[in-house]
Amino acid sequence: MPALTDLIEAGRPVEQHAPWRRAVVAPKIWNLAVEQLAAGHWSLLGLWAEPDTVHMALLDAVRDIGVISLKCAGGRYPSVGQRHPPALRLERAAADLFGLLPQGLPDTRRWLDHGQWGVSHPLAAGALAAEASAAPAHAPAMASYRFLPAEGESLHQIPVGPVHAGIIEPGHFRFTASGEIVVRLEERLGYVHKGIEGLMAGSPVERAAKLAGRTSGDSTVAYSLAFARAVEAALGVEVPLRAVWLRALMAELERLANHLGDIGAICNDAAFVLMHAHCGVLRERVLRASDAAFGHRLMRDRIVPGGVASDLSEEGTAAVRSVVTEIRQRFPHLVELYDNTASLQDRTVATGRLKPALVRQYAAGGYVGRASGREFDARRSPGYPPYDELAFDVPLLQEGDVNARVWIRIREVEQSLSLTEQILQRLPGGPIRVDVAGASVAQTGVTKTGGPCEGMALVEGFRGDILAWLRIGEGGMIECCHLRDPSWFQWPLLEAAIEGNIVADFPLCNKSFNCSYSGHDL
């Protein structure tokens, strides 16, 4: 079994790419990597494109990370998705945006492009772009989109969305059911595609950072962190210690707020409103403490390249301490209530079971992965400061049902409480921000060797690992940036998890995954 380093060394390494390496490889090496993915030895961390290149971020058996890139001669490249299904939607998305054709891809339907943009391949360059702007608008999307067939006696279809019956993000679900039993679910996403990558290209770092923080509203801290870390890696900027710790504090508060809200919401979908009410109160307390500590309930735009935008005051510290104390008091009773309510357990236990093998194949992160036996937490591995100095467990279960996903979150709430306390106890003093624009590389946007600089980061959001990759070019402008939400590898698994369950359990399954629409659609 080759190591990822062998492949990267076999290619042409890119000069300034940090902290992990990237190499431009030949098709043969590309295919070798695909083989490793298909055989289940490696995991796919991301696949994205530029006008004439595809990139693939990989994680090998010894948890080494690297990127391989392939020049697409004639706008084509050998499809990864044909041998490794987790790449399928990523390749469809890249085809829509850049017009690159994955050769052999079994599913060539458009994914993000619903035929409404007025252009095709909006991010393509050169000839393809010219051709794109000249192309007439596509036929209306829903009418022309072919859903996969499911055939059999007395099957019926239930179309749901994009507008759902609640305060939910838009997406379309096509159920095929036999009576009450779901035999197939097919998702159609892309409704909230905002063209974030397109907006980032050519933007100053600060504007791109704002966009990154708005990729998925519930993960604004995690996205800002991923983006900032990628910028800092590219420019070789060292962030002040206090900022590093404050960032972790924000990240844990965000995780707490989301987990608390979702645990309640899952129970709510099982018609157990009491949990929802109590969890909603705790979530609100966390948001208020975050507001007191950092001046914004969701802590938006508080993490910036170079550090953090606002310092933690005495009152802020007190607010965070008191919310931790309150959750420590109240949460155990709620956990007990969850565990002892038979009617609730009846809905969550054995519902929406997701097999560990699938989770491994898709390298699913977060509670979806950890509830089905995949032990991966970006805070641990590859890891980033200050987590190397903090004590915490990564909870793991094998059952893979709704109940397991709830329990992983319960355990993570407990871990985040402890992490928050540890951070407050050991928070170092000093400055909170360095000037990124003043960094020597950024002024010119060119490294000593004369090329642009590239950076990458993998950060653990509440949903799982978020990948950020970017290149900074002349004048310190973002040349291109790709953000990969954990949901890319979780959405397809929801389709698998719902199979054989009753339609009425879909909300429960869906909420226990809580995949991001906006983060995925970008």
Binding site: G166, H193, L199, D218
Partner: protein
């Protein structure tokens, strides 16, 4: 379970005093709500939330309106599952082109009289996403907007202020004798 219910009886309510309706919101409404058929609304407001490309931040704060602190139902404001039950469409996002059609359909499915509230900076003019090939850039590009509630996202209090302004305005109109 019994313990929780019992506690609920003895603990003081968490619900907070309602905020004063925001003046700018009222001013905007004064211009926007000149129509006649507002009588039927009474003292309740049914809201249908439509995410037309939000980052989901605005939705989180909308959800918060239902928690025990804000408890919007006490104002007669409630979120409903269908546009056919709604008086108000609360629309978020820079309106992606992929959602424009669905947003229009939702509007068409909402019975008259109806109001459209654009929530968040995105809903106002596309916010950060304005200028993208994939967004229309603000709800008013697609629907007639009666009220904007700015913020990124607006806090629950800000949303509440805006909605209260809408209610006050609507009710004042209803109470006024018509000539």
């Amino acid at each position: 379970m019994r313990k929780h219910l019992f506690e609920g009886l003895t603990r003081l309510p968490l619900t907070e005093r309602p905020p004063k309706a925001s003046q700018t919101a009222i001013d905007e409404l004064a211009r926007g709500l000149d129509g006649a058929a507002r009588k039927r609304l009474g003292r309740s407001l049914s809201i249908r939330a439509v995410d037309a490309g939000s980052c989901n931040g605005c939705e989180l704060e909308m959800h918060a309106l239902n928690n025990a602190f804000y408890d919007v139902e006490r104002f007669g404001i409630r979120f409903v599952a269908s546009p056919r039950h709604a008086d108000v469409l609360l629309v978020t996002g820079p309106v992606t082109k992929n959602m424009r059609e669905a947003l229009k359909w939702t509007y068409d499915a909402t019975p008259n009289p109806k109001w459209v509230v654009a929530l968040g900076d995105c809903g106002r003019n596309g916010g950060c996403f304005a200028g993208s090939y994939a967004v229309v850039g603000g709800v008013s590009e697609v629907l007639p907007v009666d009220l904007h509630i700015p913020g990124c996202p607006p806090s629950p209090i800000e949303i509440l202020k805006g909605l209260l302004a809408l209610l006050e305005r609507v009710n004042a109109k209803t109470a006024a004798p018509r000539g």
